[in-house]
Symmetry: C5
Subunit: 304 residues, 5 copies
């Protein structure tokens, strides 16, 4: 994610890093070259009776803009929902540990429990990004728990089961009444909601045909646009054509980035930073002394 | 559902499988033929004083695009809600079994309970797809339960009742306190929410008149468009006419597919894969050894 | 509600029943006649300096389309919410009876309770449709309860109170612990949510001024459209004018139908069928033998 | 609120009362006069080289329509949310009293409690409409409670506190177990949600700059429109200009009314009627004999 | 936040303070100067064959308006959600204290607890606005609690932990049953939801690329617009160009303000006033005598 301080409106126009411009530069450049070719060959192909006007492109442009707006909305909703799920994980983690600590203030194994919670967050993050997990999780989990988690199709779900067992042991030993066990269990269920929600977003893309239809119509529109503009604009065609193409192609490309919010591209969620903040919070709540440093945006305002 | 890896923007333009293009090809081809006929017969029917211009089609095009955008939204919401309901089933299933296993760790009938849960998921899937269920459910249910379920108007609801009875027996035998019985019951209620939500989506289509009005206006628009374009574009008419028609008809056809998200078309939900993942998860949580293989997309990236 | 099987795209264009076409046919026909008059009298009134062009209608058409889209959205939301409320009633009814049956399996009065639940659904349906209730409810309620319900401003609410009393008696007799009484009471509260939600939709229309403003602008737009089109299209004016008018007027008329989802028009909710399904479900859950037949769409695919 | 029976589409065009037309008539009339002046002075100012065309107004018109649609949406959401909050108050009130009556059926002070509930509704209504409350509330509250409420910044919140104390006394006396006290308390919390939600809507307007920007652009657009239209339409300019202005100004004015849903204008919520219905319901649930009459719309279909 | 009384529509057009006009005046003025330069140099650059027409700008204008509408929606949603979170804090604070006071009416430390609640609100406010907190919080917290909060990464979360401990002590001493402790704990969890929700909004901006793409296209559009208009409008170009630019740039600037709702700009949330109201409410509920004065809008209708 890009975390820039607010800037003067004029400077924003010249920002390169963090825009999708780097990604679509080739396509815009090809559009520019095509437009020049269209201008130069105009006399030849108009002599063949080949002619386009702006009017049908106006109809098409509005329709594509509306449908692109719809797809943007759908992709942005996924991004927002993904962020909300991680916010809910923060809420559930803090609430769960607060309740545990208030209810069992003198339990000698609180450090173990807090590490199970931290492991859950990192495990979910690494699952979503398809990163290898064993090494990192070994910092937080006992060997036995680590093996159980790694053997499972869904390691994060297994960690939840282990946390539930931790609480159930306290219930069986009489330290937790049924009411409080039920209450703590609800926090685990909240985490289960986050887990399955993230899995859902990661596994179910926006219907592929949307992407396809819009991709095609946007590119065909941009390819044919110079032919339509050249009659009116002549030498100005390449500039206007690139400006219009930029508007449409940039939003198409951004929607594609937002569709998969768990990646590590410029406009994806900073899961590393969220996990880091969660880890600091939980360790501080347990009054531990060794707290990791806080992750900050790098020189290019990038936070992963 | 189509699960494609992200691809180069240029290759996407030429993808055939998974688009709705295969479905609407005939219509676009008819539109192309009509456009050619319009170009060829232009001298004849203009001599009759028959004339169309682009301007009124511009008004109509914008209006149809806005209303089509609205219908797309309505159909996509159904798709998203259906997916969320299955996500909630995943959540409720895992949470229910985690609570049961943590509360009754040594119960000898956990295997029976986990199979009731798996049967519920498969039963719901097969009900929504109107597939015969008895054979599949017999893998998970005892003969008596299977008969009770099959005799019911809503077999999935009957399975819920059986699960509730399983828990109630433990309560009556004193193994579950009222608090924990209440908590587990809430998980069953969550499943009831999923069940009735899916039934609602399956039984209540988007109001038929929406489909009808848009269908008609889209097709009339596409049929008359070549007459309007031919004055300006002449020989280019068939190409632009097909491009505009593609944009409108493809989105109309996609909305139709998304409207019924439980089918087995390209853009429908992969219920088989979801049930399979749920089955693996639950069996692993019960530490069973015979776990079914995971379903993966086929050669054409299709996951049912 | 119209429940049609999916059909070939070509056949859909000619469907008459279930569209709003029957409702707006007169208006479209008047528009057609007006357009013909406009074409015929063109020489006369243009000699008076009376002239309209398409350009301002283009601005107006877009604005009306956007606002109509907004109103459609508002009305469709009411329809969707109404359907969801009835879905929640299904959920609450099944969950309530499942909990009651699991908790009090041998109670001799379960049949009475299940009939109270069924009476609630029918009573709500008939209240929303302003139908006389006493006769139907007498099948399910004792004379005393029926009188109490009929004497109340909100009979459905009174039935809820009676159900609460049924449960409270069991609590006072020691058959229900406070926890389970609390849990069952929450299901009654869910039904109360449905009741008040439906009352809200029935009593609070979309602000009347929306209806009025859009009605007026849509009709004025359609009346003046032929004058604007005739300059360009001449003899084609009536056809294009009716096509544009159809798009706008049909959506306006549909929004009006959806605004009141509890009626018995083509695009309203099939409350009869929902109540029927609920009744069958509940009676089967109580293992009763006399189950009413399932309601199916009639010959015209109509389900009330 | 206007509660009209459904009417013939033709009659709706001529409705005066309940539309915003009465409110914006002056503005439309000024627009009409301006348009006439523009037509008459056209020869003079065109000789000065002053000229406008429709094309830039087309861009502006679409943009304003989109932004106006957005603002309408925001204001309508406030209206809908306000109505939903009052619906939730209905739900919480009925559920709370049902639970109280079922749990404490023979308590001699139920009449006092039901009046506290009624007082809460009226107090909230009068707070939102900034009406004096003491006189009305004295019908329902004891002198001591009335004074406590009136001395508070938020009288409705104080009434909630008194209701909580009423329940707490019963708990301390052993008539309510902790579980049931907790359950009833949750209903009070639901009322607290309604209270703070209504305060939020009343105190936090849609950002003032939205209102301002749209106001300005709408009026500037309508003022300059006749200059742009006169070239094409000549004598027809005033009529078309007023029609376009009506569409934009009427929706702007309606959004303004909906923004403050708690007022007593034509399109505001009928809080009097809602409180009246709630009062009747609660008194009937307590089987009281003196029930106030039901409020109905007046001759002009107006319900306050 | 600007809190203006409703005003005559004519006066609104001339309001300066509270609009974003002060912020974008320079940009509009530059646009005006550029337009004049375009008009004056028209003969020179048209002789070079440099020519623009309105048609492509019409396509671009609609597309930008749609995408700007989308961004406005996204930013406004953040504003609304932020306001709702603070409303929920109000709800949770009142409910928590009501329950505490009703359950422990004679506890001598209620004053301490109410100050912990007030400290939480102020702490959250100052965290979101990145203001120094120690001085203000010292009015409400004991020295020990203050130090604990200040040493934490998230002081507000630490205050929640302290409140939980306050309740847990009462539970351990037998004054709170597990049920009531559980109920009060849920209110703390509600506060945790508000805390993490606000952190989420503050830390996760709308994807930077949206801001960038729209910024660029809006400004490029406004810069090139005069060249396109001058052909048709000549001397009127600067006026129309500024009007169109105002519509687009003002909404772009407003979206930027709303994106960060916790600031102290004209259109940001009045957190000071909300905290103040919460403080008064809680102190009055505890029947304290020293109540701070209520914050009111200043002379310019500004409430921070």
């Amino acid at each position: 994610m890009i975390v820039r301080p607010q800037q003067h409106w004029l400077r924003l126009i010249f920002v390169w890093h963090g825009s999708v411009l780097s990604k679509i530069f080739t396509r815009l450049f090809l559009n520019f070259l095509l437009s020049i070719a269209v201008v130069l060959t105009l006399p030849w192909y108009s002599s063949l009776g080949f002619k386009l006007t702006v009017a049908p492109f106006s109809i098409l442009g509005v329709a594509i803009a509306i449908f692109l707006g719809f797809r943007n909305n759908a992709c942005y909703s996924r991004y927002v929902e993904a962020r909300q799920l991680w916010g809910q994980l923060m809420i559930a983690s803090r609430s769960l540990f607060r309740e545990v600590k208030n209810t069992l203030p003198d339990d000698p194994h609180l450090g173990e429990f807090v590490r199970l919670q931290i492991a859950f967050a990192h495990c979910l993050r690494m699952t979503l990004r398809r990163q290898p997990q064993a090494e990192r999780l070994s910092h937080y989990l006992s060997a036995e728990h680590l093996r159980a988690a790694m053997d499972s199709q869904s390691p994060a779900n297994r960690i939840l089961l282990i946390m539930g067992e931790w609480l159930a042991v306290h219930r069986r030993e009489g330290q937790l009444s049924d009411i409080l066990f039920h209450s703590l269990n609800n926090r685990l269920n909240d985490m289960s909601v986050v887990l399955a929600g993230c899995e859902r977003i990661a596994n179910t893309p926006v219907p592929f045909a949307y992407t396809l239809i819009l991709h095609r119509t946007v590119y065909l529109f941009c390819i044919m646009l110079p032919f339509a503009l050249v009659g009116d604009l002549h030498y100005m065609t390449p500039f206007i054509s690139v400006l219009v193409s930029y508007t449409f192609i940039a939003l198409d490309a951004l929607a594609e980035e937002l569709e998969e919010p768990f990646g590590i591209e410029n406009n994806d969620l900073p899961l590393d930073a969220i996990c880091n903040a969660m880890e600091i919070d939980l360790l501080q709540m347990n009054d531990e002394s060794e707290i990791p440093a806080r992750l900050l945006p790098d020189r290019r305002y990038q936070l992963t």
